[in-house]
Each structure stands twice: as C-alpha cells, then as structure tokens.
Symmetry: C3
Subunit: 154 residues, 3 copies
Amino acid sequence: MLRSCAPEACLRNSFETSFQHQISVTTRGHGDTHDITDQVASAVSRSGITTGIVNVFNVGSTASIGTIEFEPGLQADLPAILDKLIPPSRNYGHEQAWHDGNGHSHLQATLQGPSLTVPIAGGKLVLGTWQQIFHLECDVRGRQRTVVITVIGQ
Amino acid sequence: MLRSCAPEACLRNSFETSFQHQISVTTRGHGDTHDITDQVASAVSRSGITTGIVNVFNVGSTASIGTIEFEPGLQADLPAILDKLIPPSRNYGHEQAWHDGNGHSHLQATLQGPSLTVPIAGGKLVLGTWQQIFHLECDVRGRQRTVVITVIGQ
Amino acid sequence: MLRSCAPEACLRNSFETSFQHQISVTTRGHGDTHDITDQVASAVSRSGITTGIVNVFNVGSTASIGTIEFEPGLQADLPAILDKLIPPSRNYGHEQAWHDGNGHSHLQATLQGPSLTVPIAGGKLVLGTWQQIFHLECDVRGRQRTVVITVIGQ
C-alpha cells in the first residue's frame, strides 16, 4: 500500500512489524501431546503486536501442530484415530528403506501438518474457550522439539 | 529489512499493513458447508492491500476451513468421507468424559484444520476457477460461528 | 504498532515488506510428488526478508502442499495412504454429477490442504534437516500447476 510518509504523517502511521521466538517441547514418544497455548500467547504479548497473525511451526517431519479442546479424552483420541487411519507397519516404503519403525509417524505428521496460523486481535490470540494449540509427537521415541512462533502485524 | 527512510525516500516506500474483519456463519448442524469465498474477497477488497496473504480462521474446536470445488456433489462427499474415516462413536475418550455426542466432531475438525491462508495478488484472492473457500460444521447441532479474516500485506 | 517516526528514528526502523513469486510445477498425474524446497528458498533469498514467514499455495482444487522427508519410500507411501483412506470410486456425489473420475482427487487435496506457512529466520527457511516442502498431484492426469510463494516479514 503506497502511503504518504512526510515526517508529520509518518508519526501517525502504524507500521507492520514481526517478532519471532523459539520454544522447546520435550516429548515422551508416540502420541504425546502438549498444550502450548500459553507459550504462544506469551510470545504474542511480548511482541507488542495487537492486530495480526501468529504462525506456530514444528521443525522436523514427525510431529505436528493444530487446535483441539485439550482435555484428557481427546488427548488420547487424537493419536488413537491417527494410528487407526495410518497404522504402524513394516510395509511402508519408508520402512523398507530405513528400518527405523516410524513410517506411520511421518505420514501422520504430514497429514495433520506442522504449521498453524491463528489471528491476533486486541493483543490476544483469537481462540474459542475450548480451543487450545497443541503439539503432537508422532515419532516412536521421545524427542527434543523446536517450535518457532512468528508474530506478524501491527 | 533495514530501509533508509529520509523523508523523500519515505514517500516512495510501500509499508506493510494489516486489516481484520469478523464474519458470522449460521450452521444447521453436522456436515453443513458454506462457501465463504465472497466474504473473504470482500474483506481483501476493503483492506486496500494488493499483495500479501489472507488468513481465514474458525473460532472454536468443532468446525473447519479449507478449499474445495464448491458444488453439491463434493459438499456431500466431504462430510461423508470424514464420517467414514472418523465415525460417530460412544467409544471416544471425549464421549466417556463429556457424553455430548461430538467426539468425532472434534477429531474431524482438528484433522481438516481451522485455519487457511490464501495469497493475494493485484488486490484479489489467488484461487483456481473451481477452488472456493469453505466453512464446514463438524458439530452435531447448528451453531453460530465466528470466522476471523486477517489480511496482511501492502 | 504505533511507532514514532521522526526522520532520524525512521532511519533506524525495520519496516515489514512482502514479496510474491509464482512457480510452475509440471506433474505427471495422480500421486506425482515434487520437492519444491529449493524454489521456495530461492524466493525467500530474493525477497531480502530475514525474519518472517513464507506461504506456499497451490492454485486449484486437486493438488496439495505440505512437508515430508522427501525420500523415495515416503514419496510412494503418501499417495498410497491417501488412496487407501479416500479411494477412487464412482460412488462420490462429485462423480455422479461430473463423471470426470477425480472425486477422490478433490477430497484428498482438501484433506491434505493447498497451503503451507513456514517461518524464516536469518534470511533462511526454518526446516528440519529431513523436512522438505512438497507438491502432491492428486488429480488423475498430468497438470501444469501454479504455486504462489508469498514472503512477509522484515
């Protein structure tokens, strides 16, 4: 958007800005879920950005990010349904090449996806009361995960 | 990006900006789909942003957003395939704790996802001719839904 | 974010900017996967943006974008599991209306999704070592695809 930006106009403009923060999530293995909403909210708060979006991204190909009502029932149901849809098996091409037992982990993480974008209004995440941001470990062993939180807005 | 911004250079700069708009979607219950492309396009138009992205986000954990060719066949096929993959059942942990009959709604909405980001070029959404933005109700009853549209760009 | 922008302060500010680039992907038909990480990384590099996000979007309703360890095993496993979950069938409503044999293509592409957002730090994509950005053709014939890459940040 072309804006006139003489010094006096400039003083009144709101400029877009971005802020990035990394967090670590220590997982205990396949199906371990973490509620990372508070950590994302904290990054949004520290950014000073009041209107915009925040992207939450899992670095690595065997874990995923999304939203869910984070209660014990669904914490178990989500990895269970993914295991039903994409079960552990030695028949995946990935297994036949690499024999590391995590072909289903890759496919589950790819289908659920590593990336989530949530709006920000009034300096806060816009989420439903029973809608939290989760990290899901799909790999077969515990991992130290890096999640990148990027806030964009003004 | 560090930019030199003496007043005269400043006049020629394009600064990023953001724009946010909420819409309501009234749904009739499980499997109800709405084409919200026009409402997203209208928000993009009003933002004045010509190059960038728009994020479309369903607030709440039992509905989802995505793209599809919005014709009657697929409007029925999409909820049908989700019901086949993640059927209604009393066996979900969520059901055993909450008895509200919508365990499958949560899981379907989480897998399809609440968030979609679409590029903007020339002040318009970049979508295929037969690619529309849909809202899908996964819950078992009609709901009044809030969808947040955030436009970022210049 | 309201910023004071007297000329001398202005010189020190980093302003958000955006950059957009389109690439073509020529596909050979159902299940054909392409690693487009290098093309996305190149767009990020040309944008000059060092901190932010990049959105990668498939224009059209029968192909999708995501991340995966791009090795031959998973390149075959991903379309195979999608065909197992959402098999070709003449029973889809889409087939009964249009008879073009690609009802499953639409549903697979919608579930996997057409849009991926990845963070940028230090001017580079933040991805795991074995995490690549893929394009997956879900349609039943080869297509010339347009993928829009939009970089937002500073």
